[in-house]
Structures are given as structure tokens and as C-alpha cells.
Symmetry: C2
Subunit: 297 residues, 2 copies
């Protein structure tokens, strides 16, 4: 039983196919098949059910895969601890970012981060929060930038900064006349929201429901805040946007931005990592880069 065999097994478990896994591992398919066969022979159990499409683990396979993930984590942590000891900021960092943060934050810290730590290979992926938690769980991600506050136990959060909410109101909307919008004045029928699965959507709904019991359906939904704002511009509606989106509102639209009155009208931006065997030196470097470019404002 070698580390390579375990890595091949995890690759198959992750992508549900021998041939796809072999590409991921940069070997030919027979090579990978052979190693998995050897592993099964040594353990004396069939680990994968090849008759199913996609290939799924057997019960024994589930157990081995679960434990193998732990073992590989501990194994990788050895190299990591040495790098940290040497003070080297190097290695591969897989970072997830939620869609309501990515367009406003990524381009600000990534150039600086890469310039400062040239040995780091950064791989960024835009993902929704639920997928991020799953990916952190089986090491498809090392860390993620999310709106915090509802992490499962096995994920740890480090707070970066607070991100206030603002109303973005169409000139055709009666609220356009105000400079400060009260939550209870918002007409839910005119509130445009992100599509399901975006945590910003849930946060905004929660914000509104805290002030009124009505559960209203929304007239339009989109996956992108920018799209949402453009729709607002051309209808009588409104939406709620985070502070980090403000600089990207065109100047002639700036007067459509309204502050929100009182209450917990903000989200916390955090870095989420799994609790065991994190690439702590890389994460700290990342945190430093983000904090610097945020506080530079």
C-alpha cells in the first residue's frame, strides 16, 4: 500500500472514472487501474464498483477512502510543516470565492499577492458557499473567502473585515428620493434578489424578514449583482448590494446608492479553512495580502 495507490484511489473517488482520474494523476489509465488492483489485492477487499457509471466506492471503499483522505492530509502536512519552518511561502493554494465577493475583491489583492510570493501557485475558483464547504471537506479546496457566520464545525473561520449593505434604487422607485432607506419601507415586490443558493440572497431575506413577517415572492432573480443592478436601472425596482460593490457603480449611477438605516446591516467577510492540517503559512500570507489592500482604501 503506497501513497500513490491511495492518491489514485482518491482521484477515482473524486471524479468517478478510471480514465478521467488517470488524466488528473498524469499517468495512463492502465497504470492507474493496475495500482488500484494492487491496492485491492493487498487489502483483500474490492474498493470500487466498476459496473456502475460513474464508478462508485463499495462499503469497504468508503471506509478506506475516508481514512486515506486523513492519511494523505497528514502526509502532506509533513512537507508543509517543513516549508513553514524554513519560512518559505511556497506551494499550491486552491482558493474558493463566493460569487458576490469574487468580482469586487479578487483583482485587488491577487496581483500583489502573486508578486510578493512568486513561489505560490494560486488556483482560484468561484463557488457557492455550500459547494465550498464540501470541497474543503475533501481537499478540493485549501481555503475560501466567504461571508461568514454559518460554518460547520470542521471548518474554521478567520475574520477579514466587515462589509456593510447598501440599497441600490432605481430612479423610478419612490425610495429614490431618500438618502437613507429603512428596511421596513422596502416593498418586497420590488426587491430584486440573487438566485437561490447565493448566501447574500439569504442574508438579505433574513434582514428583511427580521422587520416584517410577510413572506413575499420576488419578481426577478439573477446570478450576478451587476446584472441585477442593470435590471434595477431599467425597471422601477431596487436591490441590496454590499459595500465592496460600490466602487464599481458607474459615477452617473452613484446617486442611486442609499444607506440602510440601523440594524445588523452588514456581512462578515472571512477566510474559511478546514480545521486539520491547513497550509497555515500560505493562508497567513493570503490574509496579509487581502488585509493590506483593503486597509489601503
Amino acid at each position: 500500500m503506497t501513497i500513490i495507490q491511495l492518491e489514485y484511489l482518491l482521484a477515482v473517488a473524486n471524479c468517478g472514472s478510471f480514465s478521467a482520474a488517470s488524466e488528473l494523476c498524469f499517468v495512463t489509465q492502465p497504470s492507474l487501474s493496475m495500482q488500484i488492483k494492487n491496492l485491492e489485492e493487498e487489502l483483500g477487499v474490492i474498493l470500487l464498483d466498476r459496473s456502475k457509471k460513474p464508478v462508485i466506492p463499495t462499503d469497504a471503499g468508503e471506509t478506506v477512502i475516508r481514512n486515506a483522505r486523513e492519511a494523505i492530509k497528514a502526509y502532506n502536512y509533513i512537507k508543509e510543516s517543513v516549508a513553514e519552518l524554513k519560512g518559505e511561502i511556497a506551494g499550491h493554494l486552491k482558493l474558493g470565492v463566493i460569487p458576490t465577493i469574487a468580482p469586487y475583491l479578487l483583482h485587488r489583492f491577487i496581483p500583489g499577492f502573486l508578486a510578493r510570493y512568486p513561489k505560490v501557485e494560486l488556483e482560484v475558483k468561484e463557488m457557492k458557499t455550500a459547494d465550498i464547504f464540501k470541497a474543503l471537506g475533501h481537499d478540493s479546496l485549501d481555503a475560501a473567502i466567504i461571508a461568514g457566520g454559518m460554518c460547520p464545525d470542521e471548518i474554521a473561520e478567520q475574520e477579514l473585515f466587515d462589509d456593510r449593505f447598501f440599497a441600490y434604487v432605481s430612479p423610478l422607485n419612490p425610495l429614490y428620493e431618500r438618502n437613507n432607506v429603512r428596511i421596513e419601507d422596502i416593498d418586497m415586490k420590488e426587491l430584486l434578489l440573487l438566485s437561490d443558493g447565493h448566501c447574500l440572497r439569504d442574508q438579505i431575506l433574513e434582514l428583511c424578514h427580521a422587520h416584517r413577517a410577510v413572506h413575499s415572492t420576488c419578481s426577478f432573480e439573477s446570478g450576478s449583482l451587476d446584472t441585477l443592478m442593470r435590471i434595477v436601472d431599467n425597471t422601477g425596482g431596487m436591490t441590496i448590494i454590499p459595500e465592496m460593490a460600490l466602487p464599481y457603480v458607474p459615477d452617473q449611477r452613484k446617486n442611486q446608492i442609499k444607506t440602510l438605516a440601523k440594524g445588523a446591516t452588514s456581512r462578515k467577510i472571512t477566510i474559511a479553512v478546514r480545521r486539520t492540517y491547513v497550509k497555515s503559512s500560505l493562508i497567513n500570507a493570503l490574509k496579509k495580502s487581502i488585509m493590506e489592500c483593503v486597509s489601503a482604501n
Copy 2:
């Protein structure tokens, strides 16, 4: 960085010598030296200081060794979990037993245990409690049978049974006339004790000190209870022996055994294992075997 390299490293760390480690790993010394060199090259740090005798780890080596132990544990646990899944009671079990338990318990359960689980390779070692805790820490032992109650945090105990204390009194001693001895009647000058490091010695001292503040030096010390009893027979002294030793007192000496009056006059016999990645199926089998032969009395 392969598992074998890590195992070689741990072997050197455990025995302080390349050549000794190579015997332990069943390879030649050049082979082991080469692999360690490769590991050092890959990690980019010197792990072992060869100038010292015995060879000691560098600071980086300490870190790597610590993390490698964790990784190897997790790695071994994979096989173990499969064995457990298959319901197989098999594998290698390294068991430590303290000297005041070994001669009275081992021979009773070992034959039955080995007969019942023929695939288990049992390796028993008589060790003092402090050494057992250390050995459990770096996997030189899988489990141990000890007198419980003072385990460090990282060691877990499972209670087996209670073992009462009895007085074993010389016919020449005034207490010989009694059937029940009170702790406070014992003359510390006549109490023979095991040599330093035996936990039974500490337990008895504690027992006596709880009843009187005097701190007396003992006139004689031995490493074996049997020796102690033979000395008692031929002097006017006495000692304290555990219940499990009673059947091995010769019949003509049985009347030298006296019960002890009230108080916590017993020790708890427990199985100690480290908290992570234990060979739980093996341990359970062991526990079962011991409990059966103990309750058979």
C-alpha cells in the same frame, strides 16, 4: 517522500543509530542511509545530526518526526479499518504489562487468547508504568495492562477489574495474630516495598500516608513481589500484595495473608491505549479474553 522513507526516519529516531535502525527495518544500512538522504534532499533540510552519538534529530527533524508519526498512524489505520470491517481479528499487537501484574495474569489469558485468535501475533513486554506511557506515545506499544488512575491526557483507559490489597505478614510479626490488619497498625519500618518506579509501591505508600503523616524510609526493597514475600517469610517484616497474587502463595503460607481494614484498599486494573488510531478490534478481543478468564474464577 515515501512511506518507507518516513518509516526509516522514525526507526532511526527511535533507536538513535542508522545501523541499528536498518536491522529493525530488515534492510541493509546503505539502503536506509540512502533513503534518509533522499528524504532530506526532497525536503531541503537536514533531519538528523550524525555527529552526535546517539544520532539525534535536528530541530527540523523533530518537526518532521512528530508529523511523520501522525501520518504513519493514519496510514496504518487504513489497513486496520479494513481488517475490522472484515471482522478479522488479526495483526500484530504489542502489549506492555507492569511487573506487578504480569506474573499473575499473563499466563492465565494468553493461551486462550492465542488459541481463539490464531492470526494475531502477540508481543508482550514487562515494563514500568512511566515507560509504558512513553512507548504508547511513539507507537512502540499498542496497548498496556496497568494499574489505572493516573494516565496522561493522550492515553485512554478501559477498566478491566478491581484488585484488592492484602497484607502478607511474617509469622514472626506481631500482626500475624490478627486476621484483619488496620493500616494505622502497620509499622512502616517493617513494611517491605518494591523498588522505586513500581506504581504498586507508590500506591501502597499513598495508602499508608493517608493514615499517618510520618514519612519513614523502608528497610528493604525488591523488584519482585515474590522475592519480597520470601524475604518477609524469613524476617519479621510484612508487605502488601494484590489479590491476583494470592493464588500463588504456597498453601502452608496462606495463613500469612491478612485482609486490610476499610478504605480504598484496592487498585484498578485497566487497559491503556493511545487515543488516536487504536487497533480497536484487537484491543476488544484482548479485553474479552481477559475478562472471561478473570470472571471464570
